[in-house]
């Protein structure tokens, strides 16, 4: 049997690089911090998490999460997942500069062209989760579908499809 050309990197080295990149993406954007959003990572799979907060309420009578918050949550999940996928190769090869990322050198983010949100049921005063699927990502444009749920993964409370303009490589 042929030996691999390069021994695999120690797990903590690769984890550190992945987590530093994700942290830079999420913590560098004030609006994501304002919403209180976080991202959980399993390998390359990301889940957006929106912990419930009183300031996210849109209908105090029900109460329900504001429709704009739901739209924003889906849009942020799409943008971060898209950026993450776009940076993945550089993260894996080590080409990415984690030191500059940690000092606030945020990579350029995709820009939203349009996003269409479906409200399937009202957002309850509970934590919400979202995952994005990139249906197509070319050199300039990307099409992304996002699903959000609360207590049950198969009872979505919202979904969205958005189109994004990809950042152009700076080289």
């Amino acid at each position: 049997m042929k030996a691999p050309r390069r021994p695999p990197e120690p797990v903590q080295v690769i984890k550190q690089r992945r987590d530093a990149t994700l942290r830079a993406l999420v913590e560098g954007v004030p609006y994501i911090q304002y919403l209180g959003m976080q991202f959980e990572r399993k390998g390359d799979e990301l889940t957006g998490v929106l912990p419930f907060d009183q300031k996210l309420i849109g209908n105090p009578m029900l109460p329900a999460i504001h429709g704009g918050v739901t739209a924003a949550f889906l849009e942020v999940t799409a943008i971060i997942t898209l950026s993450w996928t776009y940076l993945w190769e550089d993260v894996e090869s080590g080409a990415i500069n984690t030191e500059s990322l940690e000092n606030g050198g945020l990579p350029r983010l995709p820009k939203t062209i349009d996003i269409s949100t479906d409200y399937l049921r009202s957002g309850l005063p509970r934590d919400a989760y979202a995952r994005a699927r990139i249906n197509r990502s070319g050199r300039r444009y990307a099409s992304v579908h996002v699903e959000a749920w609360q207590d049950n993964r198969n009872r979505l409370f919202a979904q969205a499809t958005g189109h994004f303009l990809m950042p152009q490589r700076r080289d």
Binding site: G28, V29, P30, Y31, I32, Q33, Y34, L35, Q54, K55, L56, I57, G58, N59, P60, M61, H66, G67, G68, V69, A71, A72, F73, E75, V76, G104, L106, R108, L109, K111, T112, I113, D114, I115, S116, T117, D118, Y119, S122
Partner: protein, 140 residues
């Protein structure tokens, strides 16, 4: 006596998220609503340029469209968003307030149809446009 518009205005300004974003309803009635959202650094989506995140614009659009539906004479009560599509035409100028104006242009017994635009100080060049469908509640 408080009119339907007074009640709706109080209601919108009592929405915790709208209040958190500093939204102010400046005009409302007959299916049209205008809401202003001041510039705030906490809403920035791109720290390099200081441009407001699209998500905050979505929240403004959604609130404004809902207000337009509620102010329509044929809508007896509250409303909820069925779907909302937003087109982002350009980045809003950092430092400037964003104003959304929504028109509820058609109401059936069950559905209200709305369109909206958002502008910064350059009112001839919209920042974003939205179209949506909303529920009509309390109808028989």
């Amino acid at each position: 006596m408080a009119t339907k518009t007074d009640i709706a205005r109080q209601f919108i300004e009592a929405i915790p998220h709208s209040k958190s974003l500093g939204m102010r309803l400046t005009d409302m009635g007959e299916g049209v609503a205008t809401i202003e959202m001041p510039y705030d650094e906490k809403l920035v989506g791109d720290p390099e340029t200081g441009v407001i995140h699209g998500g905050a614009v979505s929240a403004l659009m959604d609130t404004c469209c809902g207000a337009a539906v509620m102010s329509h004479p044929e809508n007896p009560g509250g409303t909820a968003t069925i779907d909302l599509r937003i087109d982002y035409m350009r980045a809003a100028k950092p430092g400037q307030a964003i104003t959304a104006r929504a028109t509820c242009y058609h109401v059936t017994r069950t559905v209200a149809f709305v369109r909206a635009t958002a502008t910064d100080a350059d009112t001839d060049n919209p920042v974003a446009a939205a179209t949506g469908a909303f529920t009509v509640e309390g109808a028989r």
